[in-house]
Symmetry: C2
Subunit: 156 residues, 2 copies
């Protein structure tokens, strides 16, 4: 059985490849490739995880699945806090976000944080898409290594 | 615990990013980035796997560890066959190489196969390097999805 840390190592290498060794501030970079990679992985991981899963009864149940089973499968822990305004906005808080937990804290952190959470924004968006929920996903870092992922469901 | 297939998904996305959607023949591409990513991952995976491991007594023991524990940790199975000329050349054969096992067989296969095994060549080289064995690693595909990895130990 693979250790989840191998996924982390590979993720770190992708960041290095796209961002470069000097870890440029995110504003100078086009991170859409990371988002796209995340989307595809999230989509496929859901196929793997929900193969024999019953249908979810509503959107909230889908989001809860992302917070528990999905997050545990990928990051080895659950989301610590879930909030919603009951109008399609969900905020998922991970207090020890794996991809940031080993980054040293510096003043430039806020500038480079998107390098580390953009893939996961795509991952969540891809996972939700495969479960029938179209969304926009963003993230914010206030206190390292805690990350809040904002999901805005897009209803048609 | 993460499923080893997540590692595979992420690897597939990297290939797509570097190679492009049309899966160009490898001769037109610079695959060194894949090799470098593999090297770093292999190096770090060894740190993770051998943390409380006794020292290996010789080079052959190191290579056997790559064939068994290392391969199982990353790919979920062992190497099927190991041969050596006892002069620093080792041939590791994986009859169901994970990154090729889901590629459909076409006449252009031999041209694109390096897209799928280059990362792993780097992975093996990085793992060996961290265990004190400097090597050059190549691969060949004769019958899909079987791959032979050739390790040539470089002695000083």
């Amino acid at each position: 059985m693979a250790d989840p840390v191998f996924f982390e190592f590979l993720h770190a290498e992708i960041i290095k490849y796209i961002v470069g060794d000097d870890n440029s501030p995110s504003k100078d970079l086009d991170l859409s490739a990371l988002d796209t990679m995340g989307f595809s992985c999230g989509y496929r991981i859901i196929e793997r995880l929900t193969r024999e899963w019953p249908k979810f009864k509503d959107e909230l149940e889908v989001v809860k699945f992302i917070c528990t089973d999905f997050w545990t499968a990928v990051y080895g822990k659950q989301i610590d806090n879930l909030r919603t305004n009951n109008q399609g906005l969900y905020v998922l808080q991970d207090n020890m976000f794996r991809f940031l937990s080993k980054i040293s804290i510096g003043k430039e952190l806020m500038e480079i944080a998107p390098n580390y959470y953009t893939f996961t924004c795509g991952l969540v968006r891809g996972a939700l898409a495969n479960l029938g929920v179209v969304s926009a996903v963003n993230a914010e870092v206030q206190i390292m290594p805690s990350v809040k992922f904002h999901i805005q469901v897009q209803r048609t």
